[in-house]
Point group: C2
Amino acid sequence: MNKLAVIALGGNALLRGDQAGTIEEQEQNTTDTLENLVYLIKDGYNLVITHGNGPQVGNILMRNDAGESMYQIPQMPLDICVADSQGGIGYMIERMLRNVLRKHNIEREVVTLVTMAVVDNRDEAFSNPTKRIGKIYTKQEADELNKNKGWIFKQDMKKAGGWRRVVPSPKPVSIINERVVKTLAHQGTIVIASGGGGIPVYIDEEDRVRPAEAVIDKDLASSLLAARIHADEFYILTDVSYVYIHYNTPQQEIREFLDYEDTLKLLRAGMFGEGDMAPKIRACLQFIEGGGKKSVITEAFKLEDKRFGTKITREYED
Amino acid sequence: MNKLAVIALGGNALLRGDQAGTIEEQEQNTTDTLENLVYLIKDGYNLVITHGNGPQVGNILMRNDAGESMYQIPQMPLDICVADSQGGIGYMIERMLRNVLRKHNIEREVVTLVTMAVVDNRDEAFSNPTKRIGKIYTKQEADELNKNKGWIFKQDMKKAGGWRRVVPSPKPVSIINERVVKTLAHQGTIVIASGGGGIPVYIDEEDRVRPAEAVIDKDLASSLLAARIHADEFYILTDVSYVYIHYNTPQQEIREFLDYEDTLKLLRAGMFGEGDMAPKIRACLQFIEGGGKKSVITEAFKLEDKRFGTKITREYED
């Protein structure tokens, strides 16, 4: 049976921070990234592709703000904005992937699924919103929005002391369409799913699916999906080729192979930057805890040669 | 084997023209509409649900305009805007449907697919754009946008002589993910797909999938999908319970049963309003031409009793 890999594309695989955000830039970046998946496909892998949505949903939130200001168009809540971004980004990845496959004469079905991720509405993240989203407001605007919409704001010292809306980032506990993803992926269809960490929902006391005003870490959602669909391998594609300890210090050191226990120790010792490598490491560990064989953190263009990248496994391989 | 029906939800099934467009309104309308599908599901039908996106993509286009004016965020092309609307609307329908099914103790998988519809880039519609989209501009603004973005404008006498962007509305020739839709739907999964007529794309001379700056009639795309996946029945849910001839005149007359030949004659005699019932009739005929057994035009709340609605079949049934 073919191996199944879940590939999580980081934000910069689609749109880099130094770019304006035009569709031409996004299409080119996406094609460049997807070209590297051809190595895995030719190697016989089945694939599920997940992706971030940071810059895109940021723009959608700003457009919602502008549309209300200029044309009195009601703003959509966060769940709809994430869902919109899954449609736009998922379509773009699917179209580019179809063209890449065609170029390499590979016949594979490709499908993009709109995906909800379930969180626990008693998750402690709900009482401590930390994730900054949307535009920078003045104190007065923030107070107004807090009064009118109940939004919570924190001052952002990195953004000249402006005020930004903060939302909770709870842990995903399940992926709503995981059974369909699993069936399609194991049949050989390349599935694009769980964009932007999934659309955040919770299950209420009457067993109804309700929207959560939250954002979910895309690597955590991707690794949860990977474990639930019994993927063999989980890849996080980012902007470094390897995981380092003492990163950006004179003691900087590459870690190419890591086992579960050592990784956990290094994580607890604070060896990985919070807001940077630490969440990715947690996602990799979650995959191993869920029964996965191997998590890999590397850059897209290193996929050509499997020697590259940091490989995290349950035990060190011989 | 269970019958397969494709249900095309009209714009007003999700958001009525007299509403502001808040998410609460859209969720309530959607739930009210979906409640009526329970009759078909309990009757053993497999379902594919398609939907319009007129008001929603209209708002997305306005927000793109506002985001560029206020915050210099690059506008997305029409294909991305349609894809965004598929994500947002598809998610909303899926979530509401899951809750409706739960309420009725029905166990069915539900999945939402981002869908591209292929048009022919030599379609004559491309040399005669007719479909009005987006906001109303002054003559000066329209000239500016024509120069900068190549957009084509027509004066809209219904909108106080303002200028509106027009785009082509070519015929869909295939639906890109139709094989996956077919497999899932015949297995009993309720599939939400082909929103807003599908994301318009064409296949270039090098066999690549390219975006088309166009919009596709959602009923035509839905009936094409219905025929290609071998659906037994095709429903267009709209704001009238029956098809009429001489509609809104003293000679107004209900047509409850119609065969293919009679419908074609009435269509050619101009008995159905262009911009209203005629495109729906064309979609129904296209389904019959593609091998479908029965097309139905009616209101959602009439699904309870199959005697309601106008039924178009190849031959009159005994």
